[in-house]
């Protein structure tokens, strides 16, 4: 069983009805938030789901945990279908799949102490007694880099980064297999973001966790993920292992996203090819390929016919009619920081830090 994927998502669809009228509510259309999304996550793997606002990545995360019911499609967790589980079986299942939210201010109950917050998942799943839950809470705080005595404090006594650590500890409480991380670092400052990213990586190694990492920041994603799925307007446009996606992005949207990221190196400042216009409304998505209205390579066929997700190489699938014939932009990738004063100083910084912290 250990080779079987932890999560299998097959042709997942979510439509939201748009209604008008107060007394006689009439459905006037559908927002196609998630349309025909298929992927798998292996044990111990991190799959990143990336895209811009409104692409359906968070909705997908919520459908997987069944915090929302899908319109159609299947979600299997360790081989078991969860799309039609009843309430009690669903609750038992959720013990093994948890979520970390973006906003560490809104996702912790301000009236509960940290100890109570961490004991709650255990209480809900009827694991242990009060004393063992309290002990587990203290242990969890140490695992995420806080102190056991923090259990008596309230969320408002912590900074954003510390609260995110509490959110992570809560997700770990019942020993899950899969954690959906919904933009877990986007509300944090860069220096804190790096601490949390490193923590998530340590926890994954230590507990063999699988992550679905939902994010808009392709640089963070490159750092943390094994495979990457790119969404645009509810559809998966490209999925590949990390190296392939960043070295040989085949979908014009993936290429544009990568080109748009500001590179923190003024030596690379260049005139870029930019996407024009805004993301169209998912209420009336463009016909054919949903990206054709902004695509620099669009041809008549793109507006008429929806491209299927086709295999470009083993494990690399792309939804574009013309990906075989499009040029692949060179995206600078270096094996490490260039030699130079910055690299030397960073090494000195890290060495001094090591010397200071025993162990």
């Amino acid at each position: 069983m250990s080779d079987a994927p932890v999560l299998q998502v097959d042709r997942l669809v979510k439509h939201f009805a748009v209604t008008r009228g107060l007394i006689r509510r009439k459905v006037i259309g559908l927002v196609r938030a998630v349309e025909d999304v298929t992927f798998e996550i292996a044990r111990g793997e991190t799959l990143a789901l990336v895209g811009e606002s409104g692409c359906g990545k968070s909705t997908t995360g919520r459908l997987i945990l069944r915090l929302m019911d899908p319109t159609s499609g299947s979600v299997r967790f360790k081989g078991q279908e969860i799309a039609n589980l009843d309430k009690n079986s669903l609750r038992r299942m959720r013990r093994h799949m948890q979520i970390i939210f973006q906003d560490p201010y809104a996702s912790l109950n301000p009236r509960m102490t940290v100890g109570e917050i961490l004991a709650e998942p255990l209480r809900v799943h009827e694991i242990g007694d009060d004393a063992s839950r309290e002990a587990r809470g203290r242990e969890l705080l140490e695992i995420v880099g806080l102190l056991p005595e923090h259990a008596r404090r309230y969320p408002h006594q912590f900074s954003g980064g510390q609260r995110q650590r509490i959110g992570i500890a809560r997700a770990l409480a019942a020993n899950p297999d899969l954690i959906v991380c919904d933009e877990p670092v986007s509300a944090l400052d860069v220096s804190i973001q790096a601490q949390i990213v490193n923590l998530l990586q340590n926890l994954q190694q230590r507990f063999g966790l699988s992550y679905l990492f939902i994010a808009h920041d392709l640089a963070v994603v490159k750092h943390i993920s094994d495979r990457v799925a790119v969404m645009y307007l509810g559809k998966l446009v490209e999925i590949a292992d990390k190296k392939t996606l960043y070295d040989r992005p085949l979908h014009p949207y993936t290429q544009a996203l990568l080109a748009a990221i500001p590179k923190p190196d003024p030596a690379l400042r260049t005139k870029r090819v930019m996407l024009q216009g805004d993301v169209p409304s998912p209420f009336r998505p463009p016909t054919g390929c949903r990206f054709h209205t902004r695509c620099p390579h669009a041809q008549p066929r793109c507006s008429a016919e929806e491209p299927a997700l086709r295999e470009a190489a083993p494990g690399h699938r792309v939804a574009c009619h013309f990906f075989e014939s499009l040029p692949i932009p060179t995206i600078i990738a270096r094996a490490g920081l260039a030699n130079g004063k910055f690299a030397e100083r960073l090494a000195a910084f890290e060495a001094a830090k090591q010397a200071r912290v025993p162990g």
Binding site: A194, Y246, P264, R272, G340, K341, F349, A352, K353
Partner: protein, 326 residues
Amino acid sequence: MDNLLEVRGLKTHFATDRGLFRAVDGISFSVPRGRTIGLVGESGCGKSVTSLSVMGLVPSPPGKVEAEAVLFGNRDVLRLSADERRRLRGGKMSMIFQEPMTSLNPVHTVGQQIIEAILAHTTMSPRAAKARAIEMLELVRIPSPAQRIDDYPHNMSGGMRQRVMIAMALSCEPALLIADEPTTALDVTIQAQILDLLSDLQQRLGMAILIITHDLGVIAEVADQVLVMYAGRIVESADVKDLFADPQHPYTIGLLGSIPRIDVDRKRLATIEGTVPSPNNQPAGCRFAPRCPFADQRCRLDPPPLRDIAPGHQVACWKAPVEVTS
């Protein structure tokens, strides 16, 4: 070089129930004409309060803005009357904010809001002001501006609203544009459009830009000169190329090491341990000392002054330059 804005010894403090918050604590910098200065730092470092202090938008009380001088052109803006200040603001000195949804008035069309700014600062007739507003919308590349001028903010996307804000800010031909996190709320493809628009407009109109951001990627793309702020003070000031190639302050080094980058493969990110000190309980010496791996007794007791370490490159650190052999 000819400085448009010169800030000397700026201190902005807020009196609160929990004591005096020293949001900005004695900073000096200048903005040359036609150049882009980047002010970078993390939440609570005082970068936004700096821009609000220069604009004269700090509410008082509880805020108190003090400085040896804040010279704009050759006038000290802190010594101007409220009325003179208002004429300056939105005229020769204007500002765009992070959140384009909340900085536009939802009950007026975007056209009315741009026209209002033009009428407040010029002697144009309403008709000429409208023509000018359409011209501005065209300048910020809003398609069919003559129609879009009658749109309300909610009819527009986030990127479009930020373009309207830019149109409004530039409508009176400012010499200085302060852009406070202008692209933080936007998606990356839209961010790229807005940054490109700003540098294009700068070339055409010749204004100076003070851009405030937490994103070192944005700084690397647009700034000529960079100021790094930490806990209310400037810790490093350098030409953009020098800052990224030859960072001197341990905070700058740690910050650059902690950004995930798509152009570099690394196993682990560097981290800066701990968190930013609270603004009402600042360390006595160097404010970065509690988080700095190089800090010693002197750093903890004695605040380091900003000093020259190379031509055009200043750093506030006793230990700089730090070398591997240390």
